[in-house]
Every structure is written in C-alpha cells, then in structure tokens.
Symmetry: D2
Subunit: 331 residues, 4 copies
C-alpha cells in the first residue's frame, strides 16, 4: 500500500487526486494547498487529511507526492520531496528557469528517488497507439511529423504574463510529442526555427507574448517536424498529429463526445472535438497516474522522466529565442 | 444514503456493482450469488457482505436491489423484492414468459416500488444525443428508423437453447430502441413482419433458432422501422441506427477504441468498433446506474420502466411468431 | 464504325446522346423525338439529323438504337427495333405491364439482336467496386444486403399517376441491385414482404401510391435483403448499400461534390451527397454507354440484359402486391 | 470561334488538347512537337494538323496557343507567341531563371496579349470551394494555412537534375496555393524559412536536391503558412490543405476513386487518394481550359496570371536559398 500526498487542490489537482484515490493499493493521505477551503473540500471528499508541506515531508509514512500546485512552486516542492526521499509525480513544466530545472534533475538523481513528469499525451489512447505502431514497424522509418495543437481560447492575460510565454506554457507538450515520436530511437533536434504572431488578441501582444506559432525542427537524422498552434480555435480544442513514415502514415484524430452525424439541408454535421484538455485527456490522466504507481510497484522506468521534462523545456527555450531573433537555433 | 444488494456476481453483475459502489450516497451492502466464490470475491473487492436472498429481503436497511443474475431467476427475485418493498433495477429480459412478465408488472404496481429495466442503450451518449435532438425537433417528424445490430459471435449453443430465441434474447434491445425512438410520442406498432435464416452456424439451426434476422415494423402513424441483425459479424460488434425525419436524418455510428487512421499502400485503415457490449456500453452502464439512484433520490420517473420491459417482450414474441409462420402480425 | 439513332431528346436522352457521341467508333446519326424542337436542338448540337421512327428503322445503315423516350413508348420501339434487326439499349423500365415486357424479351430473342437495359447503378464506380470485391471473395459468402435509396423530392403527382407506382418506378433499381449483388451466384428471391406509407405528401396517397417503403426479401439460400426508400429526403439524394458477408462487410457511400469540411462553433460540416441521379451517376451513364458499344464490338454479353429488366419488374410487381395485401409473396 | 495551336504532345499536352477540343467554340488547329510521332498521333486523334512553331506563329488565323512543351522551351515560345499577338496559356513554371520569367512578363505586357499560367489547383472543385467560402467570410479572417503536398514517387534523377530543384519543380504549386489562399486580400510574404532533407533516395541528394521539405512563411499581416512535402508517399498522392480562420477552419481533403469502405477483421478500410495529378486534377484541368477560353471570350481577367507565375517563382527561389543557407529570407 502506497501512501500519497498531493500538492494543489485546483483543477488539475482534483483530477489527479480522484484518479489516484480510485487505484487499488494507493491511499491518498494528505491534501496540501495554500487555499484552505480547496484543500479541505478535496480532502473531505476523498477521505484524506489536510496538511502543510512541512507535515507531508516530515511524515515517513508518505511514499510519494503528486505536485499539481502552481508552476512557481514546482521546483521548490520537487527538491524538498527529493531530499525527503519521496517519489515524485510533477506536473509540467518543472520550472520556467532552465537553471532551476537542471538543479531539480540533479536533486532527483542524488536522492535516488523516482520522478515522473506529467506529459499526459503519452498516455492518450490514440497517440499511444500511434507510438506502438511506430515501434512495431508498421510505417517503417519515421520521416515527418506534423503537429496541430490549438486551444479553444486564451487564458487570462495575467496568467499569460506569468506563463513564460506560449512556447514554454503551451508548446512544451508539443515539444515532448516531437521527442517521444520522432526521436524514439535516440534522434535529437539539430536545427529549430520558430516564428509567431499576435492574431487573436492584441492584449497578448501587449503582454509580450504570441498567440499563433509555427515551429520547424530538423533532427540529426534529417527528420522534419512542423508544429502549428493557436490560442484561440473557433471550433474548440484540436489535438492531432500525423506521422509520415517510409511505408505509411499514422494520422491521429481528435476524440468526439458522440458519434452522431446529422444530415440536413445544410450538409452533414458531426460533433466538434472534446471540449478541452480535461475531457480530451480524461483517459490519459487516469492512465498516467496508474502508470506512476505501477512503476513504483514494479520498479520499471517511467514513460516520462524528469530528463524528458528538461529536454522539452530546452526546446521551448530555443523556440522562444528563435521567434524573438527571427533566426534558427542550431545544436 | 441508499443501501443496496446485488443479485448476480457474473460479468454484468460485476459491472453494475462497480458502478454503483462508485456513486456517492450509495452503499453496496450485499452481494448474493449461488456461486459462493464469485459472490465472495466481488464482495471483498467492494467492501460488501455476502448474503442469501432471504437475508437480503429480510434486512429492512436494504433500500434497493439490483437483479443481474441469470434470466430464469429474474421474475422470482423481482416479485420477492417488490413484496419486500425494495426498489428494483432488473436486467433485461424480465422473463421469457410473457405471462410471468405481466405478473411481475402487477407485483411492482401493487407494491408501489420503483422498478427500472436495464435497457442500457438508452443511456449510450450517441444514441441518447440522437433522441435529444429528435425531442428538440432538429429533424422534424420521425419517419423511418434503420437499426443495425450485429454481434461479433454467437454465444454457446447451450445458452441459445435456453435463451428463448434470437428475437427475445438479442433483438429485445432493438425493439426497445424502436419504441424509444420511433414511438416517443406514443405511437405504437401496428404491423410487424419478421424473417430470418441460419447462415453462420448450422448448430444454431439444429437448436431451433435463427442467427440472422430481418424485421420490419409499421406504426399506427405509418412510420417504418427495419432492423437487421446477425449473431456473427466478422469485423466485430456493430451497433448503429439511422433515424430519418421530415427535415433531416440522424446517423448514430459506432464508438472506436482510438482515432488512429493508418494510410499505407493498402488503403486508409481505421479502428474497428469497440469490441463488444461491455466496451461499447461502458459509459451507458455507468450512466444508467447513476440514473437509477438519481431517480430514487428525486422521485423522478425512470427512463426505462417495467412497462417498457413488457412492451419490448411483446414485440419479441410477435417477431418470433411471424418468423415461424412466415406471415406478419397485426395489432 | 457504328451508326446509332436515339429516341428521346429529354433529360436522360441528352445525357446518353452526349456520352455516345464522344465515343470513338460511334456516330450519332439520328435523333428522334415527337417534340420537334428538342430533337432539332440536340441533333444540331451533336451533328446528327432529325428523323422519325419509321426513317430510323428503314435505314439499314443504323446498327443500334438507344431508347430513352417516355416509358409508354419503350415496348413498341423495342419490338420494332428488334424486328428491324437493330441492337438495342433501352432505358428502364421496359414497360409497366409484365405481359408486354415478356413479349419484348421474346421479340429480342427471336430477332437475335443484342439488348441492354439501362440499370446504370451497375456501372457506378463505387457499387461496381463492391461487386468486384464480392467476386474476388474479399468478404466471403454474402449474407445480408441493406439498401438505402432516397430521392430528394417527389416528381409531380401527374407523373406518379402514370408511373406504375413507387415499386415499379423507383425501387426497380433497388430490385436490380438486390439481384446483381445478392444473387450473383444464381440465387433467387423466395419470399418478399413489402410495406409502405404516405408520410411526405398526401397528394401521393390520393393518387393511390406510397412515398416511403420498406421491403424485405429472403432468397433460396437464406440471404436477407432490406430496402428502405423515400421520395423526399431533406438532405438530398441518398444512394448507399451495405453488403454483409461471412468474412467482412462492404459499405458503399454517397459521392460528394467536394471534400471540404468546415469546422466551426456549430460542429464539423461536410458536403451533402451529389444532388440527384444525373450528378451521382454521371460516370455510370458514361461507362454504361461505353460498355454497350464495347460489347457490340467484341460480342461479349452485356452486364444488364433484357432478362434482368424482366426479373426486376417481377420483383416490383410482387412488392406492389405485397404492400397492397399486407402479406408476403412466396416463390 | 477560336483557333488554337498546342505546343507539346506529351502527357500534359494530350490532357489539355483533349479538353480544349471538347469545348464548343474552340478549334484545335495545330499540334506542334519535336517528336513527330507524338504530334502526328495527337493531331490525327483530334482532327488537327501538325505544324512547326514557325507555321503556328505565321498563321494569322491562330488566336491562342497552349504551351505544354518541356520547361526549357516555355520562355522562348511564350515570347514569340506574345510577339505574334497570340493569347497564351502556359504550363508552370514559366522558366527556371527568374530573369527570363521577368522578361516574359514584360513581353506579354508590351504585346497586350492575355497570358494565363497553368496553376490547376485553383480550379480543383475542393480547393476552389474553400477559396469561395473564405471570400464569403464563412471562417472570418484567415490566420494559418497548413499545406500537405506529397507525391507518390520521385521522378527519374535525370529529370530532377534539370528541374531546378524541389522548391521550383514541386513546391511552386504550393507557393501559388499560399498566395491564392492566404494573400487573397493583397497580403504578401515577409519572412520565409525553408529546410529539407534527403530521406527517400540518396541519388536525389547526390543530384544536389532534397526530397522532403518543410517551409514556413509569415506574411506582412502576421499570417502563418506551413508547407510539408515529400517526393515519396507510400500511400500515394496526397494533396490537402487546412485554412484556419478567426471563425472556423476549412479542411480540404483528398478525392478518392470510390466510396467503398471494407469492414473486416483487420479494421475499416477506405480507398487511398486518387493515384496522381492526372487523376486528382482531371476536373481541374478541364475547368482551367474552359476558364481560359471563357475569359478570352468575355474579356474577364484570368484567375492565374503571368504575374502569379512570377510571384510563385520568387518564393521558390527564396525557399531554395533559405534551405541552402539555413537562414530565413526577409522581404
């Protein structure tokens, strides 16, 4: 039986807490959140206790922590958890500063604890099936990856100001998909060119950020990746990718709430994609939490490690730099 | 807080037990099954006790029972539950004998308990969305319903022998869909013609049953319904319907495990439908159990009543008779 | 070089005339139509001469005739063409009276001319591909055929009054599809049950006809066919079929004008099917005319013979009778 | 009546000749090709005469010429046709040298003849419908364009050596699509970054060319375009684009030979896209030739002018330069 504490009782914290509480062999012991009401209500709902970070780290019965608090608290909690010998599940991004991310990686390695980063797309049934087929050789050698990643609407400008910019906040997932899919055999980014615009809301530009981006990466093996994103998609959340290989192509589509098609005088109408990430990735969130505890139990390596968190962040930094300078980054 | 007992710890019983145990405000108190091991393991897993039917009915703390045992035990358990004043969720079919079904209906009415029949398709997100759009008038008046209902493979011949035949065992769901969709405004079947064949396995014919059927129903308002079924679909479980209305058509497709399309030299390949009813109707089973307890709590009527169970069975009987005689049945 | 005369310069006549005039080795010599203007304009456009039926049959240079005039003239023109030793392409139906159809069959056989009936669906690229795959054994033995056949709107009531009824006028194509697909190995209809309603326009009922029908056919080998039709489909012309076989299913969809999908706040919207038969079957009309002259040239048998015309008409008659009596027809 | 001469009796020349010969009001008078057999056979088939370029330009009865000969002859024929006062339809590219293209543009302007360039994608029913919807405002302001352009296989290396490289030979169409769709309101490219690889055939690399490319363009208004191409797609010819706008997205899919879906134990299988450009763009080639003569007749401007040919070529040159230098091009 694993005893777990969760940091963060907000939107994503509640998802993770509910998923881990439903796992057999796992007990949610503590909920920790500076907002006392949020912590209390989540703890009550799941039969856990409210605790401070100090209490959590001091309790030797706690085996693992889930860090789902605000981004600026991640690196501190992660380092303290490592020091306390707790295994760690940490939401992306680890930190907006690459230096702090690197010291987190070091802390984890020195402590010898297991640390998984929450790149939930790797657990999405559709995306994961594509990766499995790639591994089985069904499309031969991977050559080109086209990633479409569009949010239904931008977060508040205050959030954007503190987000580290669209490449670190939003495309970090896409950079992880690039690495997971196109670099599965150890290939690495060699050349990256990013650009972007402010097309959906001038306030985003005034905050120093972009809302639409176009990134291209070429790997050491010559593979090509193109990522297109926007903060505001009129038809909702759009999460697709296409992987072109030497023997075929894998096209990963959106999931939809229902399979109803309405045929009428105006045409044939199908559902929009699932509303946003909580709906689209509901299964993925469940499966990644199960994976975390399965690996803790079996000692198998995680599918997404702290090193993956670092590597995605390095690409995000490079893209930010490229978009600013108008010139590519080479490795 | 509702205390519940479940009869039946087999495949569908475990589904229902898991779903109801996850509902807040609901406690699974007893599991009852003649197979002691099955009852014991399910009870242990969900923190319930094993009990005999006598114990269940004698315990005044039990508010409701879920009958998911073998079909031949349904009518007896249902009648006893009604007599004991327990609310009832009963899997379809209530009984293979129409006479016994009618006496169950009477028992429920006399006892004044609530009784819901497990026609889970009414809770399928896709089918239910179609019904909602029909209710909202999006396709005008309903005119024709085409139901495709194909199983991936036939059950064992011994099961078939005791099943009451394909119309009562398999099409009962399709007859309920017909009533739910095409008779939503009180319309009724007026003419029914059924035929069928043995095309997939001669053993089914030797057992006196059919494995492929074609049913047509015309309602009092002149609406037309065609149902096609087979026990053996090479590509798996196929559950679709199309509802033609005066202003448009609603086409309900299958659900699929993933949204991966593979494009290669052989064409463009998508997933087959979800494997079988446990997968396709996973959400429906969850939603119908929630609906059962929501209605018990609020006093709202069930979406599928014991009268619906009777009405579907009457259509199944008529279809069996029509297929045997080669002549239609008129009401 | 084949010299050809066409009877009928109306809508379908102009299609056939244009298609045959574009074939190399074929010369359109005469256009014949009681409406002098129609004949004249079509003849001018394609470099042909206007002629009476007498002139056509008297001209020994005419090798073949295409009969695309009004239905009530078909059997007379067909018999005269046979007597004159001309090869014949005749639009369906040959005649509304089975007796006259049979005497046409006899006339053709006695004269030893070749006679093809215009069941153009057999030349539709999608439907024809399905038949080819069936022949190649890709889905094993055929078991069930579901035909969806819906017109965008009813013809004028005056047309309906003279049409012989919906089964002879509209479903004749569907009965031919049934025979072509499900009876490709010589199987035959053994039991047929038809019903129908007047749901779209009371004037159709007042004219003694139906506007929605549901037909079921069981063959000697136990195969099942269901056909659903309506005269008025709100979303346009709908021509699909599904063929279930022991090893798989072939689903034939509609053709669409464009492959644009519009994603917006209201969902994902695709094109309706091609507008009506002239658009959907444009390729089929071209291919059937080429087939007619290819077979004349090579001596190969036609894909659709006068015997097919007779057989489809017999099924239409049986369906009319069944729908009237409310009882099935047995063979 | 317009009298026309065609230069080039190869693959694309025969397509254009067949299409223009079928237009009413247009006469194909001459076929000119250095390969006498090709010219002769095409001329015979369409009732035209074989002629040298000198004869064509000397015949004052010739109103227009169609230049479908090898690329290295285009600019010379175009200049001579302009000088002779003939209207011109010229296949893309005008010439591999931008300087020669510019002098062709000048020659056309000075002569006052009409000159249309064969960017047939602008006449594809699907792509053209997307442009029409954009013009009607159905998706609001255009923001991002994702172009997928994949050939089924590379041409012979000798062809590639003389082709000017993949950007000038293959992507010229994609650059025209970018301008036609994303710059419809006069917007222009401001920043272009291109990269590429040799992934499908080392011989292409040895010839100094690339076989996979990724291009990004940002316009003066901040719109973003990404183009991905490959010379070798295992599943065939793939021609799609997605246009993201402020109010919705237009997704243009491939056309397929048939609408058959086969459902079997291996999944649900649909047709690959139309085989290659002659099939996919058959309608487009027909429509562009009709457009050419319609505009000559009515005096309306062409949808694709010689200025469009120049502008696409400038983008192709910029992309070649960017891919070589590894740095973006700015305007």
């Amino acid at each position: 039986m694993k005893n777990v504490a969760i940091f963060g009782a907000g939107r994503i914290g509640r998802i993770h807490a509910g998923n881990l509480a439903a796992l057999s062999g796992v007990t949610l012991k503590y909920v920790s959140d500076p907002v006392a009401d949020a912590a209390g209500s989540l703890a009550r709902q799941l039969g856990a206790q409210v605790a401070s970070a100090d209490q959590v780290f001091a309790d030797s019965a706690v085996d693992a922590v889930v860090i789902a608090s605000s981004t600026d608290t991640h690196s501190d909690l992660l380092s303290r958890a490592a020091a306390a010998g707790k295994h760690i599940f940490c939401e992306k991004p680890i930190d907006l500063s690459l230096a702090r991310v690197r010291s987190c990686v070091q802390a984890v390695q020195q402590a010898g604890v297991a640390c998984m980063i929450g790149f939930q797309r790797r657990f999405d049934p559709t995306f994961n099936e594509a990766r499995s087929r790639l591994d089985r050789g069904e499309i031969g050698n991977p050559e080109m990856l086209i990633v479409t990643s569009r949010d239904p609407g931008a977060p508040p400008v205050d959030y954007i100001k503190a987000s580290g910019g669209i490449f670190r906040d939003m495309l970090i997932h896409d950079f992880d998909v690039f690495r997971w899919i196109l670099c599965a055999d150890g290939d690495t980014a060699q050349w990256l060119s990013a650009t972007g615009s402010v097309l959906t809301d001038p306030a985003i530009g005034a905050a120093g950020d972009l809302d639409c981006t176009a990134v291209t990466i070429r790997t050491a093996k010559g593979r090509l990746c193109q990522i297109n994103t926007t903060r505001r998609s009129a038809y909702g959340y759009d999460q697709r990718f296409e992987l072109m290989g030497s023997h075929g192509m894998l096209q990963c589509g959106n999931h939809r709430p229902t399979e109803v098609a309405q045929w009428d005088a105006g045409g044939i109408h199908g559902d929009n994609p699932e509303n946003f990430f909580l709906q689209r990735y509901a299964a993925a969130y469940r499966l990644e939490m199960a994976h975390f505890f399965d690996c803790l139990q079996s000692g198998s390596p995680f599918r997404t490690t702290v090193a993956d968190g670092l590597a995605a962040q390095e690409l995000a930094d490079a893209a930010s730099e490229s978009a600013k300078s108008g010139r590519p980054v080479n490795w």
